[in-house]
């Protein structure tokens, strides 16, 4: 188990409980693939995290949205 995985575990242990809405079953599993994607994926994770911070403080420049919404 890499320290990187443990960081994700710690963050998620204190994260909120599910919001029951229209659940898209793929989303969480897609995000997990960044955590499982090895060293190369660390940069991707930081970028994703950065988007989330910007979104949280209202500075979000929407990432490229494609036709397909998954």
């Amino acid at each position: 188990m890499k320290s990187w995985h443990w960081l994700a575990v710690v963050l998620l242990t204190f994260s909120g409980e599910p919001a029951y809405a229209y659940l898209d079953p793929g989303t969480g599993s897609m995000l997990l693939q960044v955590i499982l994607g090895g060293v190369a994926a660390v940069a991707v994770a930081i970028k994703l995290f950065w988007y989330k911070i910007r979104a949280a403080v209202g500075l979000s420049k929407k990432p490229d949205v494609e036709d397909e919404t998954g």
Partner: protein, 479 residues
């Protein structure tokens, strides 16, 4: 496994399990398997044919053989021909089986094939759009991938689309068996989508989080699933903009393969015990029984034989010498697992091993109760071997003898039955702590019932005086 030669046929049926993919549909015309495909699926197939990995896996017999059918050779109605852009023909799988009938080792072999295929595909710019064990079948003792339209071009920056499904239908069931000793088949039969992430996270306790793969694939995935399942953001495009690429999928797949190869299951003590003391009769009787079965199977001219309650599979192997295909079944998962390991090691290629309880057999279920079918619909046998099983069915499972013989007669036109008499110590053991309400369990009643459905062609009493063998065949008047 060559596709059948073309001949004109005008009757065909739609395979009930193939409706989910909007880009294709399977039709069966006699022994031919025809798939109607959309233009998109046809283009992807042509691209697939040009890859190196497609040829490699085909050569190894791990992909079903497929070809594009010229339009004048499609044995389907005009209406259907108009519906699809093109048609593929696949070679026929002798017996279709389902993951809830497989053993641990079979499910793992299918999982490893799935990983090998996606890894090879990704390296050549393609991918598998799903990851379901129903896309894998066992032919000649080996897993073969049959759902050719699952291969598609890998979109840039896309994650592994089948990752979650792979976990729910391969990884979690295998981990349940390996880590907890919980048989996975009932879960796979209870839900068409396997063991869901939220179910898995409840099945694995706190201590299990320290076992390989549980913390990440089960617990973390369940957490992320709850946390981000309702996100309004387009995670797919965020991943792409953040630079997600195929190297990350490959890293995940390599780790997954390592995890799977570490998972093992060696049964539990009780099952080993029953194996060691399999038969309680003399060596002479054993030889007599073997030659009776060998002669009957040969004389029956059966193509497909079921051996129900196969235990060690020694009679399945005898049958396999004289029939084209044997399906060896037992409710004891570990007995079937052992047999599967043996036939793989020995290179026996015409026995399909399945975990199956005749008192609670695979049902018709799924969408409209026809997506997955019972075994008789998939592989009607020409002969059933039912050796030293009837006392378990009648006495342990409480199924009346007449009912059981009626079911056997519905299943097949021929039967080889071994009756174990009440004075045999195996039967005595079953009755020891039970009130004996089984007046139907007698040789006289058995013979009378057999004769109602079949003619008895040949019979043999073993020298112990406790075991009787019958070869029965439906006569013109009994059919």
């Amino acid at each position: 496994m060559k596709p059948a030669e073309v001949n004109s046929a005008d009757s065909f049926s739609v395979e009930a399990g193939s409706f989910r993919d909007r880009d294709g549909r399977i039709y069966r015309s006699g022994d031919r398997i025809i798939r109607g495909v959309s233009q998109l699926a046809l283009d992807e197939f042509q691209k697939l044919q040009s890859t190196r990995f497609y040829t490699n896996f085909l050569d190894k017999g791990q992909l079903v053989e497929s070809r594009i059918l010229p339009s004048d050779q499609v044995p389907l109605s005009e209406d259907l021909q108009q519906q699809w852009a093109g048609f593929l023909e696949h070679s026929l799988v002798p017996v279709i089986s389902y993951p809830y009938e497989w053993t641990f080792g079979m499910l793992r072999d299918a999982a490893l094939l799935q990983l090998d295929l996606i890894e090879a595909a990704i390296k050549e710019g393609m991918t598998l759009k799903d990851a379901t064990p129903y896309n894998v079948q066992f032919v000649s003792g080996r897993p073969v991938f049959i759902d050719i339209p699952s291969f598609e071009t890998l979109p840039a920056g896309a994650p592994w689309a089948g990752y979650r499904q792979f976990c729910e239908m391969f990884l979690f069931p295998l981990m349940l068996q390996a880590y907890k000793g919980i048989h996975f088949q009932p879960f796979m039969r209870a839900g068409i989508d396997g063991v869901g992430i939220q179910t898995a996270t409840r099945l694995f306790g706190f201590r299990d989080r320290f076992r390989s793969g549980v913390l990440t694939h089960v617990w973390l995935q369940a957490k992320l699933d709850s946390r981000y399942g309702s996100t309004s953001q387009n995670v797919r495009s965020e991943l792409k903009s953040a630079g997600f690429n195929k190297e990350m999928i490959l890293a995940n797949i390599r780790k997954m393969r390592k995890l799977l190869s570490k998972l093992s299951w060696q049964g539990d003590g009780s099952e080993w015990g029953s194996y060691e003391e399999f038969h309680n009769y003399s060596e002479d009787d054993h030889l007599l029984k073997e030659s009776f079965i060998e002669e009957c199977v040969a004389a029956s001219e059966a193509n497909l034989v079921w051996d129900i309650g196969c235990n060690t599979g020694q009679f399945s192997k005898i049958a396999a010498k004289n029939a084209r295909q044997v399906v060896a079944m037992d409710l004891d998962h570990f007995a079937v697992e052992r047999l599967n390991r043996e036939i793989k090691a020995e290179g026996v290629d015409n026995i399909l091993t399945l975990v199956q309880n005749v008192a609670d057999p695979s049902p018709n279920w799924g969408w409209r109760n026809s997506e997955r079918t019972d075994l008789n619909t998939r592989a009607r046998p020409d002969l059933v071997l039912c050796l030293a099983l009837i006392h378990h069915v009648v006495i342990s499972a409480n199924i009346p003898l007449e009912e059981f013989i009626g079911w056997l007669a519905d299943a097949s036109d021929q039967l080889v039955m071994e009756y174990v008499s009440r004075s045999d110590d195996k039967v005595e053991a079953l009755l020891r702590n039970k009130e004996d309400k089984y007046s139907d369990y007698s040789r006289q009643n058995l013979e009378r019932t057999l004769e109602r459905h079949y003619g008895i062609v040949r019979q043999l009493s073993l020298e112990s005086g406790n075991r009787f063998l019958y070869w029965c065949r439906k006569t013109d008047s009994s059919i």
